[in-house]
Amino acid sequence: MKSRYQNRIELLQGTLDLLILQTLQWGPQHGYGISQAIRANSGEVLQVDTGSLYPALHRLERQKWISSDWKVSENKQRVKVYRLTAAGKKQLAAERSRWEQMTDAVAGILNPGGKESKA
């Protein structure tokens, strides 16, 4: 049982927001769908803890970066679907560039030679 999760990585603090916003850019999605998409797109590496996902969704909604609607699914059941707002798109761009800056920086530290060659 434990081995199944061995190669999964706990999400870095703050990156969850970015991943949710990015996932929603491909279209409206419900909570379960978002967690599945993150998992699938990360090659089963990133595991989203529901205890973080739902608070994050509700927080993002409060900040007006995403909005929610109740839709009826193909099985005739009500599901809450989140979509990206205009403000959310801007936020996503900002977070993305921040993230890229950070990965560059981290990569530079881990790989000083590579940085030099880039410059």
Binding site: G31, Y32, S52, Y54, P55, R62, Q77, R78, V79, K80
Partner: protein, 885 residues
């Protein structure tokens, strides 16, 4: 509010539905991958994690959660309190007593000491005082009023005094005021029924025989008779028309609860108080003055104005003595509710003392409730641990505990308010046995309720912090393992609980010792000889002025009175005295210039003195040491004579014969009368209070110094009480219309017993209350210790310890705390009782009996408080106890 709650419920439902949907989809996905329905459901739930935690953390995001959480805490807390009614009841009752006591005292202080008189815009009202003394002569008042018209819209004067009110056959004493016409307009208060009077009365003396009654007098004496307005009543033998009744709470211009019972024009003074010229004598200082500032005039401006006028008056009327002028020049302005009054300084000390006691009680109460909560915190460890495990933050737990404490405190405060309201109700119907009526106009008003809320919350935080701190240090793992010994460590020797118990014992001991001292004092007071006969003397107080006598007729009356009792059956001797010793009375003082004696300070000393008739010392049973006492020949025309006390003779003529020495008296500043010759020295006795030190005192002859208010003293041969009516009849045979009061010497001394009685009873009750709290505290701590050490005790017993050894072990622990507390308390009590020594009669502040018996009793009681849980410890079955390890 309702909308919000509804929205919150909807949000809650949506979250549930969202999570259900999540699980449903997860299960479906897994089943599509080939898992069985049961497997899929279990896996999905497991993968989802802690449902409650997810919801809780999501809810936190919803924000405005602070209020929401508070509401939940409140509901949860209330449920916890209801679930343990015993604990809750004890805690609330304890708090109610502590808070109720403080609220009562605050409401009295609030109304008696801080409360402004009932008046329109009281902040514009100012009392005018001099450096020494509160009184102005009427001419001086008039000059001040005329000279300061640009500052004061009205400057009013009032003069208080006792009057006899006659109703049918019964005559009673009332405390009334003679007031100027602008008195009522300056205060700006209208009559509740009828009307008041205005400046129309400031004219011809005697032209307006009208009177306005206080609400209290109207209720007490006239049974709230609605038809009284317009009728006449008899005051000092004069018919006066009642024109109005003032509303309840109206006290004239008096601060601090002094409550006059009626008001009559100052121009009626010559009729009602004949023989006293108060209108033209610039030296006769008799009126109090207050005024209303013109809006926009600052107190500083008014003060400057007043000082200027006063200075001009000093120049215009160069009186014989410079002191009085200096005094007048120092005229000052005081806000009407803050004027310094000598009596109030005494009262403040007393109230301060009561406040200290009440504060101690509240501390005791807090300590105790904290202790109860701690004991409960131990029981609730598992509950707390579970909540922690379920995802509650530590801060959340602390907040929960504080909310519960606050709930307790508020409930205690509410109960305390009810208690205070009841005590105030009782107090309002009480009249202190003093001649000046004091109204406890204590009310539960906004400031009182605010105060109660404040101390409730303060005490809630105070006793709530203790268990909250405790919860903050909870260690999760051992508690979840159902370890009832908690952390498993032995508690520190001086843990918080122990310190609480020690301080409880100490405070209780302080209270009990002071109560003990006052009780001893009370015992002594009853057997204490004040130096004169207290059992077989009857006193008849009379007011000749109220009876319409002038001094010529008065002097005659006194002679006839003495004649009447000279040969009366059952009477050993009879005499007159202006002052009855140890009765609460305005004393008479005089400056004394002794021939051949130069006072070291320059100013001649002031002494209290009495004016007494022939055979006074025989009647009072005070031994004459040398010389003689007054006789019928010491009357007008004969050389003035004086008798001095032992202490005074010793002070001025040590080792010499005092007889034949001469002195002069001055009842007004530095204006001396004729030479008096000392004819006798008498033994010291108590004059003003039983606890006073022997003091210099002297007596002058009543036949040489006429007084309007005197008492007849009758030393009876037989049973004193049986002669009461005979004595009354004999006096009334001379004048039926005279207001007289017959009393035994003991009754006159009632006030002397009042303070120690009140102090002993109040402190005793408070002490017993503290004692019961301390017992509960000790019992709790020891029970807790026993539960902590069950394993250890079991082990000891398994290894052969007898129950006696276990008892000694457990009781020893409790007694150690008790003894530390007792020592601490004894030291504090010793320091405190030194401050109280002036109030104690015949008992030293370090009374060995009290300081031995009270700690001993407390220790014995504490011993039993330890013994009960300790006995339970001996019942521990070693097998069961050890199995817990």
């Amino acid at each position: 509010m309702k909308l919000r709650r509804w929205r919150r419920a909807e949000q809650e439902n949506e979250l549930d539905e969202e999570i259900r949907g999540h699980l449903r989809m997860a299960i479906r996905d897994r089943m599509e991958r080939g898992e069985s329905a049961a497997e899929a459901a279990a896996a999905a739930r497991r993968e989802f994690g802690n449902l409650g935690l997810v919801k809780e953390t999501t809810r936190e995001v919803w924000g405005s959660g602070l209020f929401e959480k508070f509401r939940l805490d409140l509901r949860y807390g209330a449920r916890m309190l209801v679930k343990q009614p015993g604990f809750t009841l004890v805690a609330i009752l304890t708090l109610a007593l502590g808070i109720g006591a403080n609220t009562t005292i605050f409401s009295i202080v609030n109304s008696v000491l801080l409360g402004p008189p009932l008046a329109a815009q009281p902040d514009q009202l100012f009392r005018i005082l001099k450096i020494h003394g509160n009184f102005f002569s009427f001419p001086n008042y008039r000059d001040l009023a005329e000279g300061t018209q640009q500052s004061f819209s009205m400057l009013a004067a009032h003069n208080a005094g006792h009057l006899s009110l006659k109703q049918g056959e019964s005559i009673g004493k009332v405390f009334g005021e003679f007031v100027t016409g602008n008195f009522f307009p300056a205060l700006g208060i209208r009559a509740a029924f009828g009307r008041t009077f205005g400046t129309e009365i400031d004219g011809v003396p005697g032209a307006h025989p009208v009177v306005v009654l206080s609400y209290g007098l109207w209720r007490r004496r006239f049974a709230s008779d609605a038809g009284l307005v317009g009728q006449t009543i008899s005051l000092n033998g004069h018919r006066m028309t009642v024109i109005g009744i003032m509303p309840e709470g109206f006290r004239g211009a008096w601060p601090h609860g002094v409550a006059p019972e009626l008001w009559t024009p100052i121009t009626m003074y010559p009729q009602l108080q004949p023989g006293m010229d108060n209108f033209s004598d610039r030296g006769a200082e008799s009126v109090n003055v207050f005024g209303r500032l013109i809006p926009g005039v600052s107190p500083a401006q008014a003060q400057a104005d007043l000082s200027l006028v006063a200075r001009r008056m000093v120049e215009a009327y160069p009186a014989a003595d410079p002191d009085k002028n200096r005094n007048l020049e120092g005229v000052r302005l005081y806000p009407i509710d803050r004027a310094p009054e000598v009596m109030m300084r005494v009262l403040s000390v007393f109230i301060g003392l009561v406040f200290v006691i009440a504060g101690l009680v509240l501390l005791l109460v807090c300590a105790n409730v904290a202790n109860l909560l701690l004991a409960r915190a131990v029981v609730r460890r598992q509950e707390m641990a579970i909540r922690l495990a379920l995802g509650a933050s530590r801060w959340r737990l602390i907040r929960q505990l504080l909310t519960e404490s606050a709930l307790l405190a508020i409930a205690g405060g509410a109960a305390g308010c009810l208690l205070a309201a009841w005590i105030i109700y009782l107090l309002r119907s009480t009249q202190l046995p003093i001649s000046m009526p004091i109204e406890f106009n204590a009310k539960m008003d906004v400031s009182v309720l605010g105060f109660t809320l404040l101390i409730s919350v303060l005490s809630g935080v105070l006793f709530g912090l203790v268990p909250a701190r405790h919860a903050a240090k909870l260690d999760l793992v051992p508690m979840l393992k159902d370890d009832r010994r908690g952390g498993g460590k032995r508690p520190a020797r001086f843990s918080l609980r122990n310190l609480l118990v020690i301080s409880q014992v100490a405070v209780t001991l302080v209270l009990l010792i002071t109560a003990g001292l006052f009780t001893r004092s009370l015992q002594k007071v009853h057997s204490f000889s004040p130096g004169f006969e207290t059992e077989r003397v009857l006193t008849v107080s009379m007011d000749l002025m109220g009876g319409g006598y002038n001094d010529v007729r008065g002097k005659l009356f006194y002679r006839r009175l003495l004649d009447q009792f000279e040969q009366a059956p059952g009477v050993n001797s009879a005499s007159l005295a202006e002052i009855i010793p140890l009765k609460e009375q305005i004393p008479r003082v005089s400056q004394v210039a002794i021939e051949g004696y130069n006072s070291p300070g320059g100013d001649n000393p002031w002494f209290f003195f009495n004016t007494v008739g022939p055979r006074y010392f025989e009647t009072m049973g005070i031994p004459v040491l040398t010389g003689r006492e007054f006789n019928l020949q010491d009357s007008e025309g004969a050389p003035p004579v004086v008798i001095v006390s032992e202490t005074m003779a010793h002070r001025f003529w040590p080792g010499q014969n005092a007889i034949g020495r001469r002195l002069r008296l001055s009842e007004r500043d530095n204006v001396y009368g004729p030479l008096y010759e000392v004819v006798g020295v008498v033994k010291d006795s108590k004059y003003r209070s039983l606890s006073e030190e022997p003091r210099s005192y002297f007596y002058v002859s009543a036949l040489q110094n006429y007084r309007q208010q005197v008492s007849l003293l009758v030393h009876t041969a037989g049973e004193t009480n049986q002669l009461r009516n005979a004595v009354r009849d004999r006096v009334q045979a001379l004048d039926k219309g005279l207001l007289i009061e017959v009393a035994t010497m003991r009754e006159n001394m009632a006030l002397q017993f009042l303070f120690p009685s009140i102090a002993a009873v109040v402190l005793g009750l408070v002490g017993l209350f503290g004692l019961s709290l301390a017992v509960v505290g000790i019992c709790g701590v020891i029970s807790y210790a026993v539960s902590q050490r069950t394993g250890e005790i079991g082990l000891r017993m398994a290894l052969g310890a007898q129950s006696r050894d276990v008892l000694r072990l457990i009781i020893g622990q409790g007694m150690k705390l008790t003894l530390i507390g007792v020592c601490l308390g004894a030291v504090i009590a010793l320091g405190l009782s030194r401050l109280l020594s002036r109030l104690l009669v015949g008992v030293s502040a370090a009374d060995p009996v009290t300081f031995f018996v009270v700690p001993l009793l407390l220790t014995i009681v504490a011993f039993f408080a330890c013994w009960i849980p300790a006995r339970r410890a001996t019942k521990v079955d070693p097998m069961i106890a050890l199995r817990f390890e």
